[in-house]
């Protein structure tokens, strides 16, 4: 882990450009900071220097060191004069590429990495074209590493990134480096699925095609992908991702760098658990009483039926249900719909305990005391309470590991500390029964991580004394693990609009019917309740029961906003157009014989749009304001490529 000291700013000259960087910055990074690219394989910003590949050679013309040096190994110092274009440095870099290409197969055309391969890029950039080595190439056998990652060892250039990530960064023990000299082998002792829940990062981190995403192999080249900046919907952390799609099929998910959140990596659930987007059983057709109709027809019927329902039962018997997995926009519109119909309940969460804990957590967080994943990685003392990090928020466990690797002490509090499966594998921790056993006063950057899961012990009372606690060197920062990518947003909306947990809304027996949007509700909770309409892109039980079924887009098919567990609003962009993947279509029907403008199965809209259309029908033809208006106005300009925006008024 590189540690930078911004108090001292060495000044150096790289290719005639004066660069000032914080102490601890390498010459390679200093060059990058002024857009001078220096080839590199083994160096990685998250893994630091290794000095293995030797391709980042530069010539030091003046200063404390002279001659050919590896820019990744050299801390920037005052008075350095660096040339990246010196003939000797260029010859060295070209030589390294030549060495690497001695054994690298010339199989780019049939390699899945082709087009997104660092080795390919630097080989061409380095000018190595004529092969001088005429001997045999080294060959290896490949291993079966599970259903997600393909292994092609012949392509390996021994940058050691995979093992440095897998063992060092992620704490895996079942994958490593074996052999020596030119027969170095990266793999497992025996074939078998990789154990680490972060193994998919090998695909991203390998600079060539040794590890490729098996789920997406040979489906498309890099330039064929539909790509956009997106946010992972699988837990409350909001890791940044770049989904890659083609022909209306989500092919794979690539980690996207956000230093404040996930850093460079994501977990395997975020990467590999997205088959539902392409699933054939996914609802794509609007239905009324089980019969296919257009979306417009469905909405017309819904308006009539809502009218009838309100007339029969009164508005107090209707519940509008949003969801922590729906975009902020959708949930805002759900609240607006509830207000418009004067419905008896607005609900975002089914379980009362979950709702209470989430609300409690959100009300405790302010911009100053909410811990981002970056804060966790830099913490020097971590307290984990009432959560199974590997299960509920894997990247939080990985962040805690980074802190631990840098010397942070980890304490697990409470009777059920065995819950946290990560503590064995990713970091050593000390089990304590009460807060008084934790030396908080010694910590400079303390972070407390709490769960909110209703089945786990409630840790909030335990943590309450820490808020505003006196006598500490630095106030404690808090990270709560919530139950969905937008749980924080739902809590904010819930407080604003007096939402109630659905179980509570149903308790009085007043609620007779509901309209749900991307909601996951247990069947027993909604038994006996009329589901007037359900909107979702997943085939939930509610969708099967609903009188009016309105399919909507998945998060990769729309723009939207999630507010993560620390109150950071992050924009995700539309990656692909909605519609049935071409791959799944009946071959007899493709190519289509009848011209149409929309894709089959593509007559779907984002849920906020569905609600807007509904509101428009109810209110007559007055245009409906976009969701991000009023107090949410400030989020309109949110940049999907940025670090997101902390909602400072959260508490």
């Amino acid at each position: 882990m590189p540690i930078y000291n911004p108090k001292f700013m060495p000044k150096l000259i790289i290719d005639d450009i004066t660069v000032e960087v914080p102490e601890g910055t390498t010459v390679l990074e200093a060059a990058q900071s002024v857009d001078i690219p220096i080839p590199h394989f083994c160096w990685h910003p998250a893994l630091g220097k290794a000095g293995a590949c030797r391709v980042c050679a530069v010539k030091m013309l003046d200063g404390p060191v002279r001659g050919i040096q590896m820019s990744c190994m050299l801390p920037a110092q005052d008075g350095m004069v660096v040339s990246t274009t010196d003939p000797e440095a260029m010859a060295m870099r070209k030589g390294v590429i030549e060495w690497l290409m001695i054994n690298h197969p010339h199989d780019c055309p049939v390699c899945d990495e082709g087009g997104e391969c660092q080795l390919q890029d630097f080989t061409i950039a380095g000018g190595h074209g004529i092969r001088r080595y005429d001997g045999k190439k080294r060959t290896h056998t490949n291993q079966y590493l599970g259903e997600f990652i393909a292994h092609e060892m012949n392509r390996c250039i021994q940058c050691y990134r995979c093992v440095r990530f897998y063992q060092g960064y992620a704490g895996g023990t079942d994958f490593g480096v074996m052999g020596r000299a030119s027969m170095v082998y990266f793999g497992r002792q025996q074939e078998g699925p990789l154990d680490s829940p972060f193994s998919g990062n090998l695909v991203d981190i390998c600079p060539t095609g040794v590890f490729t995403d098996k789920t997406a192999r040979f489906r498309a080249r890099y330039w064929d992908y539909d790509l956009a900046a997106s946010v992972c919907p699988h837990c409350s952390l909001g890791c940044n991702i770049t989904p890659a799609a083609r022909y209306r099929e989500l092919l794979k998910v690539i980690a996207r760098r956000n230093d404040a959140v996930n850093g460079w990596f994501i977990c395997d659930r975020g990467r590999f658990a997205n088959a539902a987007v392409n699933a054939p059983e996914r609802p794509r057709q609007a239905l009324v009483d089980g019969k296919p109709v257009t979306v417009n027809e469905a909405l017309d019927v819904l308006v009539l039926r809502v009218g009838e329902f309100l007339e029969l039962h009164g508005p107090a018997s209707l519940a509008i249900v949003g969801s922590p997995r729906m975009s902020l926009e959708g949930n805002i519109m759900a609240a607006r719909l509830c207000k418009l119909l004067d419905a008896g309940a607005l609900s975002y969460v089914g379980d009362a305990v979950q709702a209470e804990r989430t609300m409690g957590a959100v009300s405790l967080l302010a911009s100053g005391n909410a811990a981002s994943l970056a804060d966790v990685r830099q913490a020097d003392l971590i307290v984990v309470a009432g959560c199974d990090l590997l299960e509920e928020a894997p990247m939080m466990a990985l962040a805690a590991r980074q802190a631990h690797r840098n010397g942070a002490r980890v304490f697990v509090v409470g009777d059920e500390c065995a819950l946290d499966g990560a503590r064995q594998e990713l970091y050593e921790s000390q089990a304590v029964t009460s807060l008084s056993d934790i030396p908080l006063t010694e910590a400079k950057r303390p972070v407390v991580i709490c769960g909110t899961h209703p089945k786990r012990p409630d840790t909030a009372p335990l943590m309450a004394p820490l808020f505003g606690k006196k006598g500490l060197q630095t106030p404690v920062k808090f990270a709560f693990i919530l139950d969905g990518p937008n749980a924080f947003g739902c809590a904010l909306l819930g407080r604003e609009h007096d939402a109630v947990p659905l179980s509570q809304a149903f308790a009085g027996g007043a609620i007779k019917g509901l309209i749900s949007f991307e909601a996951d509700l247990p069947a027993e909770l909604t038994a006996g309740i009329t589901v007037l309409a359900a909107t979702d892109w997943q085939p939930t039980g509610l969708m099967q029961r609903a009188e009016v079924v309105l399919p909507c887009t998945a998060w990769v098919e729309q723009d939207g906003t999630f507010i993560n567990n620390e109150g950071r609003a992050q924009r995700f962009k539309q990656v692909m157009r909605p519609g049935l993947p071409i791959k799944g279509l009946d071959p007899a029907g493709h190519p289509p014989r009848i011209h149409r403008n929309d894709a089959p199965g593509g007559d779907v809209a984002p849920s906020d749009r569905v609600i807007a259309m509904l509101i428009q029908r109810i209110t007559g033809d007055t245009p409906v304001d976009g969701p991000l208006s009023g107090r949410w106005e400030g989020l309109r300009s949110l940049d999907a490529d940025g670090e997101g925006k902390r909602l400072t008024d959260a508490a």
């Binding site: 220097k49 000095g51 293995a52 590949c53 030797r54 391709v55 050679a57 050919i68 590896m70 190994m73 010859a91 060295m92 030589g95 390294v96 060495w99 690497l100 001695i102 054994n103 001088r132 080595y133 001997g135 250039i157 021994q158 050691y160 480096v177 052999g179 020596r180 000299a181 030119s182 027969m183 170095v184």
Partner: protein, 427 residues
């Protein structure tokens, strides 16, 4: 002449504890613990001019002086007995005859450095030496010369023998430290140097067997006496030279440092074998450039050998006669280095097999004129490898291209190896 390292040797067996003690063994330790401060011991080693006998020749006392004494936590001393440089077998001969000098030397060094736990990292194949050391450590402990409160001085030392799993790279001090920690034997990035951050992140000194074995004599007889054992005023002490190849009497000899190459070969080695004429030699182990007859009078000491274009290295001299193909010699050495690369950095891992391939082509008669340029390129570029293995491997190749370019060109021109004697480089 006065012997230091072989002084106590008995023919064909290990010197016993009693014999060593009767010869004045452990007197230096007794004296140091009784009369000298740790700093006195270090100063004596600095004054003696002792330079590391493992190959690099770094002044030992200065190395010790780099160790910070005020950092929290333990400090460590490691004896590097992973003698794997081809042509070098001095430490083996020394330890098989006499483990006592090392045990006493390490105890003195630990006293000077304030080390309470030291390790002897020994080559796997040195089974007898390891047995000797373990037996010696046990006997010394029984005699109160190791363990808790040595000679009631308050100084304690644990000495452990660790047998290497065996690779050439383990002789590189940071790779050795990794191996000792139980992780992969790749060299570490320097800085930080082991003296600051070594074994388990603590200040650590790594010294060679022969280096440490000289310490008792320096303490017992004084630095000036020890220094005066050398053949030249610039040199200091004696050196174990282990000779192999086409000489009449290939053996390990203790000779004054600075003895000339010619004196070594004509003297204790008994000259060349009958029918052999001196053509070249490797002066200091496999990673040093060749010497030829023009270097006959070079004093075998660190600086004169460096000035003559090679390195004293370990003092492992391999002598070749007129029937030797120098391409084959170099190829044989490169094969060793290519095999022993740890595989960490590209120049070493990929560059050495490239060099091996080209030398094989030349030796087999299919070399081309351009190949010499490729070899020269590698001699230059392999300097920028991660550790000293690859630059060392280029030593003999550099010597080949500088001293025997004609012979290489003859191979290429003839399309065959001009030497008719059996090929040295059979795998």
């Amino acid at each position: 002449m006065e012997l230091v390292l072989f002084r106590h040797n008995r023919p064909g067996r290990m010197t016993s504890f009693d014999e060593y003690r009767a010869d004045g063994g452990f007197n230096a330790l007794t004296r140091a613990l009784g009369e000298l401060s740790p700093n006195d011991v270090q100063q004596a080693v600095i004054d003696s001019g002792l330079r590391g006998r493992g190959g690099a020749g770094f002044p030992t006392g200065r190395k010790w002086s780099f160790v910070p004494r005020d950092l929290p936590g333990p400090r460590y001393l490691i004896c590097n007995s992973d003698e794997m440089e081809p042509g070098t077998y001095k430490d083996r001969v020394l330890l098989e005859h006499n483990p006592w000098l090392l045990i006493e030397g390490m105890t003195l060094a630990c006293y000077a450095l304030g080390v309470n736990h030291a390790f002897i990292f020994i080559r796997r194949g040195y089974e007898q030496a390891a047995v000797n050391l373990r037996q010696g450590i046990a006997e010394a402990r029984r005699a109160g010369l190791l363990g808790e409160n040595i000679l009631k001085s308050g100084f304690s030392l644990e000495l452990d023998v660790h047998q290497s799993a065996g690779r050439y790279i383990c002789g590189e001090e940071t790779a050795l430290i990794n191996a000792l920690e139980g992780i992969r034997a790749n060299p570490r990035a320097k800085p930080p140097f082991p003296a600051i951050k070594g074994l388990w992140g603590q200040p650590t000194v790594v010294n060679n067997v022969e280096t440490l074995s000289n310490v008792p004599a320096i303490i017992a007889n004084g630095p000036a006496w020890w220094q005066g054992l050398a053949a030249t005023p610039e040199a200091a002490g004696t050196k174990l030279f282990c000779i192999s190849g086409h000489v009449a009497n290939p053996e390990c000899f203790e000779l004054p440092l600075g003895t000339t190459l010619g004196e070594i070969i004509d003297g204790p080695c008994g000259g060349m074998r009958p029918g052999s004429r001196f053509k070249a030699c490797i002066p200091g182990g496999a990673s040093t450039p060749f010497f030829t007859h023009e270097h006959w009078d070079v004093a075998m000491d660190f600086d004169p050998v460096a000035k003559a274009g090679s390195r004293l290295g370990t003092g492992g001299i391999i002598v070749f006669d007129q029937s030797t193909c120098m391409v084959a010699v170099t190829l044989n050495l490169i094969r060793f280095f290519a095999r022993e690369s740890c595989g960490w950095c590209t120049p070493c891992r990929e560059g050495l097999p490239f060099v091996r391939h080209i030398l094989e082509k030349i030796e087999n008669g299919s070399g081309e004129a351009g190949d010499i340029d490729i070899l020269r390129e590698h001699v230059h570029k392999l300097n920028y490898a991660f550790c000293a293995l690859a630059p060392g491997a280029m030593g003999p190749l550099e010597g080949l291209l500088r001293l025997f370019e004609d012979e290489v060109r003859e191979h290429i021109a003839k399309g065959a190896c001009p030497f008719t004697t059996p090929n040295l480089c059979q795998n």
